[in-house]
Amino acid sequence: MQKRLRLTLTVALAGLLSLTACGGPEGDPGKPGDKRLTIYSGRSEALVKPVLEKFEKSTGISVDVRYGSTAQMAAQLLEEGERSPADAFFAQDAGALGAVGKGGLLATLPGELLDRVPAAYRDADGEWVGVSGRSRVLAYNADQVDAAQLPKSVFELTDPRWKGRIGVAPTNGSFQAFVTALRVQHGDARAREFLTGLKANQPQIREGNVQIVSDIDAGTVAVGLVNHYYVYELAKERGGNPDALKARLHFFPDGDTGGLVNAAGIGLLKRSGGDPDARALVDYLLGAEAQTYFATETFEYPLTAGVPAAPGLPQLATLDAPKIDLNDLDTLDATVAMIKEAGLA
């Protein structure tokens, strides 16, 4: 027994030494134009890795990517401050980019990159630019809800007929962005009233959109406030055809806040604002190849002109999305306080 343990320890030591040999200080920020980039991605690896691999192939720039949740990446970047090894932050929603921008960490992007995206989907100060669009929808179970009876406005969800039947994910960034939009459009009092009414309707609280959509499809939840592409993701995992699912999409009409279109976007860290490699990354993500990828593979809305949305989805231009400046969605603190106050998180 002891011999075996001694052997194990020797092997362990040898392994450690080899680790040290190839370890060395990590997090080397690199130099502009060295054909190397470090990206912090709050977007999931499964969705983003293929498009970044294409970028590497077409430009010869190699990327190191840290994957995590958008919130966690934002916290990490703020904790790292100016010593961050990151060149770019690829985030799931505008709010996180705004938070990092407020920390004074993001560089201003050149106008020729910003101008490729409609003003609604980029930062007014040019610190980040939207890459793909995501519409808020009401997903519903086609067996349980008659399409003709779907609400025209998200405010109708506080009606008692939805009691216990609504799925929401209050800790999810996209839900918070929606609540912030409510406050921007209708004022704090109305937003608070909505959240209290929603809470009184005993909503089914879920960790994220994935769980809501799969519960709707399974019939345990009737409707849910989610982003539009989750139903397509579920369909993909089940074999491809969204029509085979019980979960369907309802886009709120008439500029209702429930139909907010948010953007996943990218910002460059201050140190890398002038790095041609980092700019090449933004340029690529806004190019036809990457935009088509987001349309057909992640089912998000392409944001640059001339690239159509995935088949089956209404085109972005035809959506009657609320007229909201995404830059106004940066008062997350107040939103969070309100969500907590209402007892939803």
């Binding site: 392994g15 060395g24 703020l78 800790t171 879920r206 995992e237 998180a345």
Partner: protein, 503 residues
């Protein structure tokens, strides 16, 4: 030794420095506003209640199984012994996903209690078995010769002898429950740890999350105090029993005992296995290529190896101090290692980001910073194992070596180290497998571009690609099963010959 121990404790307490700095920045008003709410009270109450229920259940289950496989004539004891420790290889988030996929409406407090119990009872089982194997059967024989029956002897003598070991295991369970995020988030119970994660997710609110963490530290200190209160002096240097203990005849309880064991294993191992099989069958998402899975497995093994090595390095002086120079200093140092143990991984992760960025930048995003995080999280697991092994080898051997003119270092190298080696091995195995399962700190601190089995599993489950996640989960459990088996063997679960006896 005291100096080295103090240094090890200082390393383990790095996260607390960060907590103090960040909480102080928040200011008294903010702290009070954050803490003095009804919600904090409710969360703290629920966390403690969950810890109490799970700890009680794990103690009953751990001690019960330990007795069944070491002290009764249960048929198939050896096989059951091998299986008994295995749930330790199943991460709570894997078990959680498997349960929710198998049982409709599996959520809430009791679901979390069940999950955490079947995943963590081995923390009590292993020390209980080790203690049962080293108790002196002489005391039991005396009790029986004085007319007490086998069952009264069991409760009056045997269980008392193993009480300190069981209490130490129960403390680990309680602290684990406080820090767990995987299980409680999947079955949707609002506990303190979940609130801390939520605060991070809600508007990237670091301050709120960290202020909440201070409450967790306070709860931990409370639990440590409670455990110290139940502690009576352990039978030190009990020596190694040379006679096998008397086995209790189960008689008509044999059937029910067998059924109960089978039920526990079905819940702890069968459901996760069935869940993984369902994932594989249900989805069409592309499982990672063999090379990807192998790379992630390699990364998991190397970071866990580094973590276990660093943890053992820090644990050695602490364990020896606890065994050789017991007293208030040793006790305080030992207990301090537990304080960070109940902190959620994300807090440990951020605190080491803060530490490395400001103090030790060359370490940042290297394997070693991650190893440091593992060490601060899992140090108590390792210290316990070293201390137990050291306590078993009489100090008289070392004294004899010193009296024969050997220097302290030579004595350490030639006497103390070989004697505690089994304990070091057990501690390393336990730390290693716990490192393999760790997720939140790994996400924050791993080198950029490195994927471990746990992070890959997280990536795929967060996009609902369960079929793609399944191979990573299966390999994670399979790899973690190896150190678990070694641990079970070392404890005497696999080979019931008492350790220290003839080999």
């Amino acid at each position: 030794m005291t100096a080295a121990s103090a240094a090890a404790v200082a390393v383990a307490l790095l996260p607390l420095v960060y907590l103090a700095v960040r909480a102080a920045e928040a200011g008294v008003d903010r702290i009070l506003a954050e803490l003095l709410t009804a919600r904090v009270a409710v969360l703290a109450g629920r966390s403690l209640a969950l810890a109490a229920v799970v700890t009680a259940a794990c103690t009953a289950l751990g001690v019960g199984i330990a007795l069944l496989v070491t002290r009764t004539d249960l048929p198939g004891r050896r096989t059951f012994g091998v299986l008994a420790a295995l749930p330790l290889a199943v991460p709570t988030y894997v078990a959680g996903f498997a349960w929710t996929a198998t049982v409709d409406g599996f959520e809430g407090f009791w679901a979390a209690a069940l999950l955490l119990t079947v995943c963590s009872y081995p923390y009590v089982l292993l020390p209980a078995v080790a203690a049962l194997n080293r108790t002196d059967p002489g005391q039991e024989e005396v009790s029986r010769s004085l007319g007490r029956g086998p069952w009264r002897t069991l409760f009056g003598v045997t269980l008392r002898q193993i009480r300190p070991a069981v209490a130490a295991g129960a403390l680990l369970v309680a602290l684990y429950v406080l820090s767990d995020f995987g299980a409680v988030s999947i079955v949707r119970v609002d506990t303190f740890t979940r609130a801390i994660f939520t605060a991070f997710n809600l508007g990237f609110d670091r301050t709120g999350a960290l202020v909440l963490s201070t409450v967790l530290v306070a709860l931990t200190v409370l639990l440590i105090g409670a455990e110290l209160g139940t502690r009576t002096r352990d039978a030190r240097y009990a020596g190694n029993p040379v006679r096998p203990p008397v086995r209790l005849a189960l008689a008509r309880w044999r059937g029910p005992a067998l059924l109960a064991l089978l039920a526990v294993y079905a819940l702890a191992l069968g459901v996760p296995a069935a869940g993984l099989a369902r994932w594989l069958a249900a989805g069409v998402s592309r499982p990672g290529s063999l090379a990807e899975v192998a790379t992630a497995a390699g990364a998991s093994l190397s970071v866990s190896l580094a973590g276990a090595a660093l943890t053992m390095l820090l644990a050695l002086p602490l364990g020896l101090l606890a065994a050789r120079a017991p007293g208030p200093v040793a006790t305080v140092l030992d207990r301090l290692t537990y304080v960070a143990h109940a902190l959620p991984g994300v807090v440990i992760g951020l605190s080491l980001v803060f530490f490395a960025v400001n103090v030790a930048y060359p370490l940042y995003q290297s394997v070693w910073l991650l190893a440091l995080a593992y060490a601060t999280l899992f140090l108590p697991l390792a210290v316990g194992a070293v201390a137990a092994a050291a306590a078993q080898s009489p100090p008289s051997v070392e004294e004899a070596a010193r009296s024969l003119g050997r220097g302290p270092f030579t004595v350490f190298r030639t006497v103390t180290l070989p004697l505690t080696l089994p304990g070091i091995g057990a501690g390393a195995a336990l730390t290693f497998l716990t490192c393999m399962k760790e997720l939140p700190a790994t996400l924050l601190l791993r080198p950029t571009g490195m994927d471990t089995l746990a992070t890959e599993l997280w990536t795929h489950t967060s996009t609902a690609a369960y079929a793609a996640a399944a191979p990573y989960a299966a390999i994670l459990v399979a790899l973690a099963a190896v150190p678990t088996w070694l641990l079970a063997a070392r404890t005497g679960l696999v080979d019931p010959a008492p350790p220290g006896g003839p080999r």
